[in-house]
Symmetry: C2
């Protein structure tokens, strides 16, 4: 059953934590915000969480969970200064959130749409006014496609110049406008 215990504190912060303060809750929200739609999406994205956990957390969430995005952004900004834990894996959503959070106003190819595949999940990345919108699933007419894994994408976001090497090594496959891909990878630079 879902966790019901409360801090018994009328403070808005405590009220928020009554709902989303349990372990895993915010990470479930993270996945939902980036478009996880089926149970198996969550299971793959959060392999450390049991099925019961996931159903419990899902039950605790209302439709207002979408409004938690500012909380996640603030948490991410703070957490990026924390050391990366040992033997940690980088999930697809981690990297996409990092990309979106790092996006600066890059006026060059505005309102561009990309297809990004990380392992076997596919996203549509749409740049608009230097902001990125991320949605699950295939785009209609992407300017370019990028197929890789979370770690490689993370590496490329930090070192965009390594793209050619990665393509040569086969760790990245691209289609479409390669220069658009280069632009995409530079948003975090």
């Amino acid at each position: 059953m879902p966790t019901t215990r409360s801090y018994g504190d009328a403070c808005p912060i405590a009220r928020a934590l009554d709902v989303v303060g349990e372990r895993w809750a915010m990470l479930v929200v993270r996945e939902l915000l980036l478009g996880a739609q089926r149970f198996s999406d969550l299971r793959r994205a959060l392999p450390g969480a049991s099925t019961n956990m996931l159903t419990d957390r899902l039950r605790e969430l209302t439709e207002r969970g979408r409004d938690l995005e500012p909380v996640l952004d603030a948490l991410g900004a703070w957490g990026s200064l924390q050391p990366r834990p040992d033997r940690s894996s980088l999930t697809a959503t981690s990297v996409l959130l990092f990309l979106r959070g790092s996006a600066r106003a890059h006026p060059d190819p505005p309102n561009q749409t990309y297809r990004v595949q990380l392992d076997d999940r596919i996203w549509t990345l749409s740049s608009r006014d230097g902001q990125f919108e991320i949605d699950p699933g295939d785009p209609h007419a992407p300017v370019a496609s990028l197929h890789t894994d979370p770690d490689t994408l993370n590496e490329l976001l930090h070192h965009p110049a390594d793209l050619d090497t990665a393509i040569a090594e086969g760790s990245v496959r691209t289609e479409g406008d390669l220069s658009a891909v280069r632009h995409l990878l530079r948003v975090a630079a």
Copy 2:
């Protein structure tokens, strides 16, 4: 001993939660940000937390905990839309955070300093450019003093006109410039 378990996820959000995702952690930060300085401050502010809990959480926090303020603000904004739990108490810091978060640009008495005492804890509230800074302890030359309890202050912030009644009932004691007190109570209106 402090909690050490990790999500094992390199995502910045997960890294943040590795540090401040445990129960009570964010509420401890809330208190520290509003100036709790001694252990007894925490014990009074968080009566539901055991002493061991508090020491554990304190050990997990670095000096960067101060930078968690945006996270708390975002959580509070979201949590204020959640229903108030039954039999919940309103802590002093809850109300002060609500006050600070609600503060609009009230240009009337700028750069004013108040002394606010809630039960037996004392704060200095300084308004500057419509923003409030809240610090623990006595101010040097307050324009006015307000002595009440968290629930009454909360009520007055929602219904500033009730001030006279509250004074007459003895649930509020003021000193100094009474019109300044009225201004203070109107920041959330």
